[in-house]
Amino acid sequence: MGRIEKHPILGDLPERREVTIYLDGKPYPAQEGDMIAAALIANGVSTLRFTKNEHKPRSIFCGIGRCTDCVMIVDGKPNVRTCVTPVRDGMQIRTQEGTGSWEGGGAK
């Protein structure tokens, strides 16, 4: 839904290095220090995962790493809490289906 560039209390958004993250293969701009979920929401992404039994979309709920509603597959690892995990340039993120699976096979 966009960045808050100007703020009456916090001032202008500080300049940060731009990085690229990939959601299901598609590139999105993000800023160094962003949490994954915040960067995706800034880009207008509304669904972070789908539930296991009913395939319903989910996004952030608590935003501080407690509820696990925002989990996604990040660099091959499932169930990563994206609201408290920072982005990395070139990061590969996948919309998680159900409980997710390890990409590349087997637990690491």
Partner: protein
């Protein structure tokens, strides 16, 4: 095995204040937090705090956070971040900690202060789990910490302080707040914040709740509905509102898992958020070497959390022999005076009464 005189779990306002108070008295403190940054929820609180000058009233929450971090650094307090306490054994003396998601560490602590905070409550209605429905605190984190707007048209559920403050901060961030919905017959937040959102033209719907949220990929609209005096929905009173975000500001529940693990005795105190470890006026629980401070001891505000942290800090310092009982008593009296000042008046008396009940129950348990 790591050894520490005092381990504090949770580096929010209570934990930082406890660490500072204890370290000032000469205690060697290890402060542990699961997050990448200390400060807890202080850094999303961009409004000015209440209370008297002694409570740093008029200072914005994130500035208080910066001051606490600076003091923590100046005192040389050891802080472990990205570190989760997963187990507690031996009556609170032995902690199992996972550092950076990789390393499993045991920590032996003479004293333990738990200041783990609270988490947001949800209210449920059809569609409450659609993307775009979130805790008010989640929206506050997004706008004030991450500087990202989670939506443009907001419906806020709950008109307590969190509801009205976050509504105002969403306006400051550039969103439009379409409604503040309150099930009770009157608004619950402090007048100053309520007045600000009123002046901005935000409509309040008291005696209403959300009946249903609509949407496919995310929330697109809600139906509000009026409630009777027994909080039953009154059919035919639905109000349809378009929105892209619903924020739930419907209270907080203390995060007490570690206190359960430590074997602390609990009781249910509804006015302070649910099951709470009973404690005495030193913030000591039924497990003698385990103390608590902040929202885990009953959900209140950051200002009371900081005072309780100091209270636990000085009393642990005394129990460890770093300061005299006279000093601890004088300091505790000062802090209690501040706490009583924060727990008075129209909004505070209920919390004061609930705290008095905890102390009484604590005494009954022999704490």
């Amino acid at each position: 095995m790591t050894r520490a005189e005092l381990v504090i779990v949770g580096a929010g306002p209570a934990g930082l204040s406890a660490a500072i108070e204890a370290a000032k008295n000469g205690v060697k403190v290890l402060l542990i937090d699961e997050n990448a940054k200390p400060g807890g929820q202080l850094f999303k609180q961009i409004h000015k705090f209440f209370g008297s000058k002694a409570h740093r009233a008029g200072v914005r929450g994130y500035v208080i956070g910066q001051q606490l971090l600076q003091e923590t650094e100046e005192l040389g307090i050891e802080v472990w971040l990205n570190s989760e306490v997963c187990g507690i054994e031996d009556s609170g003396h032995l902690l199992w900690v996972i550092r950076d998601g990789k390393e499993s560490v045991q920590v032996r602590a003479e004293k333990l202060i738990l200041s783990t905070g609270a988490s947001e409550n949800a209210v449920t209605f059809p569609g409450w789990n659609l993307p775009g429905v979130m805790g008010a605190g989640a929206a506050q984190t997004m706008i004030n910490v991450h500087r990202v707007l989670p939506g443009k048209h907001i419906v806020m559920v709950g008109s307590g302080n969190v509801g009205v403050i976050v509504s105002y901060q969403l306006l400051q961030a550039g969103a439009s707040v379409e409604a503040i919905v309150e099930a009770a017959p009157k608004i619950g937040g402090y007048g100053v914040h309520t007045a600000k959102v009123c002046r901005a033209g935000v409509p309040f719907y008291v005696g209403h709740t959300v009946k249903k949220a609509y949407g496919t990929d995310r929330v697109e609209a809600v139906d509000l509905i009026a409630l009777d005096e027994k909080f039953r929905q009154i059919p035919g009173t639905e109000i349809h509102l378009a929105c892209d975000t619903v924020c739930l500001a419907t209270g907080l529940t203390p995060l007490t898992e570690l206190a359960w693990l430590a074997g602390c005795k609990f009781d249910f105190i509804g006015a302070l958020g649910g099951n709470i470890p009973m404690h005495n006026e030193k913030m000591q629980t039924s497990v003698p070497n385990v103390y608590i401070a902040g929202d885990i001891a009953g959900t209140e505000e950051a200002s009371t959390a900081m005072e309780e942290g100091r209270l636990a800090g000085v009393n642990v310092a005394c129990a460890l022999g770093h300061c005299t009982a006279e000093h601890a008593k004088t300091r505790s009296d000062e802090i209690w005076e501040n706490l009583n000042a924060l727990r008075c008046g129209y909004f505070g008396q209920r919390r004061r009464d609930a705290k008095d009940l905890i102390l009484k129950k604590g005494a009954d348990l022999g704490i």
